[in-house]
C-alpha cells in the first residue's frame, strides 16, 4: 500500500480511470434520471413515447386547424402539408363534420372538446361605411393524429434516444452502480496518495503552494463560468449543448479533482490554514498590532505615575465637560459649576496618585534590596498610611532577618580563621623546636626516627590548617574574586613549567595540548592558579610512576574546556562526586600526605569564577574537567587591570 501511494504511474492511471468513471456516472445517471422521470421502469416502450410526445407536441396543431377551419380554407390541405390527420366533429349533436383520418397508424392523438368557432362577417350600413361582426357558430371537437413521420428531426432524435434508453434501462442501473463504486474507490486512493512521494515523505507540489483562498476563489469563478456557459448553451441546439456539457463537465471534473487533492495534501501537511493570503495578511497585521500594543504599553509605563494619572483624568474630565457643554441645555452657571466639580475631582485623583507613587517607589526600593529605605508617611492618611506602614514593617523584619543571617555566616568564618590562627602560634614553636632538635646530636638512634615523624606530622598539620582556612573561605564565598580576561593556555603552560621538576621526580611525562589561538576566559588568575596547583599536586602525589599525564585545552561553541588526565597509583573505589566532598581522599586509609581538601577547594574556587569542575573516574583513569565560558570580544582595559594581580 505504501509503495502504491508513492507510485506516480499508478496515480496517473487512477486519475484517467477516475475520469472515465466520472463520465460513466454522468451519462448513466442522466439516463437513469431521464428514465425515472418518464416512468421508464413501469410503462411500456410505446406508452413512454406517446407520453413524451404528448408533452412535447402540445395543442399547436389543433389551434392551427381551428383557425384554418374558421377562415373557411381547406383543412385537409393544411394537414396534408403537415403530414398529420384530423377529425372535426359537431360537439353538441355529434357526428363528423369533416376528416381525413381513416385508421392510419399514428403516434400521438390530441383531442379538444367544445371548441368555440367564430365567423367574422362584414356588412355595409346606410352611409356606405363597412362594419365587421363576429358570429358564434356551434362548437366543435377537434382531434389530430400525428404519425411518426410528421415529427421534426429533433423529435425523431428524441424517439431514438428513448428507444435506446429503454433498451438499456437495466444495464444503466448496473453501469451507474459500478461506476459510482469505482469512482469512490479511485478517489479514496487518490486522496490517500495525495502528497506522498518516494521515500515516504509528504511533500508539496506547485499547486499546493498556491494560497488556498486564492485557489478557492479561482475554483468558485470556474464553477460560476461553467454554470453560465451551460445556461447559455441550453438555448442553442441539442448537439451543441451536449458538446458544451461534455467539455465543461470534463474540465470541471479535473478542476474539482485538483482542488480536493490539494486540500487533502494541505490537511496532511497542516498547511491548509497557514498558506492563505488572508491568514498571512492577518498574521502580519497581528504582528503589527502586537508591536503597536507593546509600544503603547512601553510608552504608558515610561510615563511617571502622577503624570499618567494627571493626563488621563484631565482628558476624561475635559471630555465629559465638552459633551455636557455641547449636548445638554443646562444654563451657563450650571455648566460652569460642573467644570468646577471636574477640576476638583481631577485634583483629588492626582493627589491620590502622588501618594501611590510614593508607596510604589518605596516598594521598588525595598524589592531592590535597599532595606534601610523608609517610606515617608507624613502626609498620608487612611488606607494609604496603613499600607505604607506595613511595607515599612516588612522592611524592618527583613533587615533584621538578613542581619542575623549575615552575622552567623561571619561568625562561622571568623571562628575558623581565629581557631586556625590560634593553632598556628603553638605550631610555629613545635616546628621550630623540632628543627632545633634535628640539629643536635642525639645519644639514642631511635630519637632521630621519632623526630622525623614529628617533623613530618607537624608539616602536615601546617598544611591542613592552611587548607582548612582556604576551604572555609572558598566555600562560603568569603573571598575577593576579581574576574578579568585570562588566557587559559598561558596559565596551563605556566603551570606545567612550575611543576616540571615535581613531575620529573614523580616519574611522570606531561603531554600538553594547547591550541595556537589564545583561549580567553573570565577568571581571577590567582584563584585559577590555585585550582590548577591543587589538581597538579594531586596528580604528582597519586599518579602511577612512569605514566603520562594529559593536559588539554579545547575551545568549542563559546566554551573553554581544560582537562587533566592521569593514571591513578591506587585503586579508586569511589565516585568523582564523593571526591570533591571535604576531607575525602582516594585512599580511605588516609595515610598519605594531604588534607583531603584539595579537590573541594578547587571546585569551590572554580565555581566562584563561574566555571564548573567535574571528576570522571574510569577504572584507573582519573579525569578532571574544567569548563568556562570564553570571552568573545577583546576587553580593552583588561591589560591595565592585570598588573595589580601579580602574586
Amino acid at each position: 500500500m505504501k509503495k502504491l501511494t508513492e507510485n506516480l504511474g499508478a496515480k496517473i492511471t487512477a486519475i484517467i480511470l477516475s475520469f472515465i468513471a466520472f463520465a460513466a456516472v454522468c451519462v448513466s445517471a442522466a439516463a437513469v434520471i431521464f428514465l425515472l422521470d418518464s416512468d421508464g421502469y413501469t410503462k411500456t416502450r410505446d406508452e413512454i413515447k406517446t407520453d413524451i410526445m404528448e408533452n412535447r407536441i402540445g395543442n399547436g396543431h389543433i389551434y392551427n386547424i381551428l383557425e384554418v377551419y374558421e377562415s373557411g380554407q381547406s383543412v385537409e390541405n393544411y394537414c396534408d402539408m403537415q403530414g398529420i390527420y384530423y377529425t372535426i366533429e359537431d360537439y353538441k349533436n355529434g357526428g363528423v363534420i369533416e376528416n381525413n383520418y381513416t385508421g392510419q397508424s399514428f403516434l400521438v392523438q390530441k383531442r379538444l372538446l367544445n371548441m368555440a368557432v367564430y365567423e367574422e362577417r362584414a356588412y355595409e350600413d346606410e352611409n356606405g361605411d363597412m362594419h365587421y361582426t363576429t358570429v358564434e357558430r356551434s362548437p366543435v371537437s377537434v382531434t389530430v393524429y400525428i404519425p411518426r413521420e410528421a415529427l421534426s428531426g429533433r423529435g425523431q432524435l428524441l424517439l431514438n434516444v428513448v428507444d435506446t434508453a429503454y433498451t438499456v434501462r437495466y444495464a444503466v442501473l448496473v453501469i451507474l452502480g459500478v461506476s459510482v463504486v469505482m469512482l469512490i474507490v479511485l478517489l479514496c486512493y487518490l486522496y490517500a496518495a495525495a502528497g506522498h512521494r518516494k521515500g515516504g515523505v509528504v511533500a508539496l507540489n506547485h499547486l499546493d503552494k498556491v494560497p488556498f483562498d486564492l485557489l478557492t476563489a479561482a475554483v468558485g469563478g470556474i464553477a460560476i463560468i461553467s454554470v453560465l456557459l451551460i445556461n447559455e448553451a441550453a438555448f442553442a441546439s441539442d448537439l451543441f449543448l451536449i458538446v458544451v456539457l461534455a467539455v465543461v463537465l470534463s474540465l470541471d471534473y479535473f478542476v474539482a479533482l485538483g482542488y480536493t487533492l490539494t486540500l487533502a495534501t494541505r490537511l496532511k501537511t497542516r498547511t491548509l490554514l497557514k498558506n492563505n493570503i488572508i491568514y498571512k495578511l492577518w498574521s502580519v497585521a497581528a504582528k503589527g498590532f502586537k508591536r503597536l500594543f507593546s509600544w503603547l504599553k512601553y510608552l504608558f509605563r515610561s510615563i511617571p505615575t502622577v503624570a499618567k494619572t494627571a493626563v488621563i483624568t484631565s482628558a476624561v474630565g475635559l471630555f465629559q465637560f465638552i459633551i455636557i457643554a455641547i449636548f445638554t441645555y443646562y444654563p451657563v452657571e450650571r455648566t460652569l459649576l460642573f467644570l468646577l466639580f471636574t477640576v476638583a475631582d481631577v485634583a483629588v485623583i492626582i493627589s491620590l496618585a502622588i501618594l501611590l507613587k510614593r508607596i510604589k517607589e518605596g516598594g521598588e526600593k525595598i524589592a531592590a534590596g535597599d532595606l534601610e529605605h523608609k517610606i515617608d508617611t507624613k502626609y498620608m492618611y487612611g488606607d494609604f498610611k496603613d499600607f505604607a506602614d506595613s511595607l515599612n514593617n516588612i522592611n524592618e523584619g527583613l533587615s533584621v532577618a538578613i542581619n542575623e543571617r549575615m552575622k552567623s555566616e561571619r561568625f562561622k568564618t571568623e571562628l575558623i580563621t581565629n581557631v586556625s590562627h590560634d593553632i598556628k602560634t603553638p605550631l610555629t614553636s613545635i616546628i621550630n623546636y623540632v628543627d632545633l632538635i634535628k640539629k643536635e646530636e642525639p645519644e639514642n638512634e631511635n630519637i632521630k626516627e621519632y623526630i622525623d615523624v614529628l617533623d613530618r606530622q607537624s608539616s602536615r598539620l601546617k598544611k591542613l590548617i592552611e587548607d582548612l582556612m582556604e576551604a572555609s573561605k572558598a566555600s562560603t564565598g568569603n573571598l575577593a574574586v576579581n574576574l578579568s580576561v585570562c588566557e587559559a593556555g598561558v596559565l596551563l603552560s605556566q603551570t606545567v613549567g612550575e611543576f616540571d621538576g615535581r613531575l620529573n621526580s614523580a616519574g611522570l611525562i606531561p603531554v600538553v595540548n594547547i591550541p595556537e589561538k589564545p583561549v580567553k576566559i573570565m577568571a581571577d588568575g590567582r584563584h585559577l592558579w590555585r585550582v590548577f596547583d591543587n589538581l597538579m599536586n594531586n596528580i604528582c602525589k597519586y599518579s602511577q610512576v612512569g605514566t603520562r599525564v594529559y593536559l588539554d585545552l579545547l575551545e568549542s561553541d563559546g566554551k573553554a574546556q581544560i582537562t587533566f588526565k592521569n593514571i591513578s597509583k591506587y585503586e579508586l573505589n569511589i565516585t568523582g562526586e564523593e571526591l570533591t566532598e571535604r576531607f575525602v581522599r582516594g585512599d580511605k586509609s588516609r595515610n598519605t600526605e594531604g588534607s583531603g581538601l584539595g579537590l573541594s577547594i578547587a571546585r569551590s574556587l572554580t565555581e566562584l569564577q563561574n566555571g564548573s569542575l567535574e571528576i570522571d573516574i574510569d577504572g584507573d583513569l582519573f579525569k578532571v574537567t574544567l569548563n568556562f565560558d570564553t570571552v568573545k570580544e577583546e576587553v580593552k582595559n583588561g591589560q591595565g587591570k592585570l598588573r595589580e594581580q601579580s602574586c
Partner: protein, 234 residues
Amino acid sequence: MYNILVCDDERDIVSALKIYLEAEGYNIFTAYNGNEAVRSVEDNEIHLVLMDIMMPECDGITAMVKLREITNIPVILLTAKSEDTDKILGLNVGADDYVTKPFNPVEVIARVKSQLRRYMTLGGGKITEPENGYTIGNIELNNKSKQIFVDGEEVSLTPTEFEILKLLMKNAGEVLSPKEIYKKVWGGEALGAESTVAVHIRHLREKIEINPAEPRYLKVVWAHGYKMEKGDKK
C-alpha cells in the same frame, strides 16, 4: 656585629628565633610586647626588628607606627594572618618585609640577612647605569661581567636564565607573556614551547628568591605572564 630585636608575646618563639639568629652570629635583644619593643629600640642600638603583629597591650601595627617616628631601621613582621589585607596593612605602616607563621627558620634568616645588607651596606636607592646593568631591590645585574648578585652574593645563572632576567629587569613593572619572552630570548615563534619559558622562570625564581612560592621580585601574573617588580616604592 648587628643587634637584632625579636619581639613576640610567645616566649618559646622568641627563644627559638634567638637560637637560630645567634647561631648566625647576631646579637639578640628580646621583647614580649609592642611597648617593650619601642623602649628597647630607644635604649639600645638596634639594627633590625623582628616583630609579631598579634600581641597584648600594644600590638605590632601600633608599635610599628611608634618605631617609625624614631628610627628608620628595617622591620620584619611576623604574622599568623595570611590574609592579603594584613600584609598590605603591615607594609603600608612602614614594615620592610613580612613572614607568615608557621615559618621556616631558614627563610627568616635569609630575609633578615637580606634586609640588613640592604640597610647597612647598600644604603638603598642606588641605581646602576643601564649600560652596565640593572639593579632592582637587592638584585644586581651586571651586563658586562654577566654576573648576578642577590643580597650581595653572586648567584650563578645559565645563559638563558640570565637573558630572561635581563629582559624582565629591563622591562620592570611590565607583564611579559611567555610568547614574548620566548621570541626575545630564544628568537622565533614559541610554537607550543611556552612551558619551556615557565620552567626556566621557575628555576630562576628558585635561585634569586628566598621563597620561590612567594617571590619578592620575579612575580608570576597567572594566566598572563611574568613581571619584575619595579623596585621599592619608598
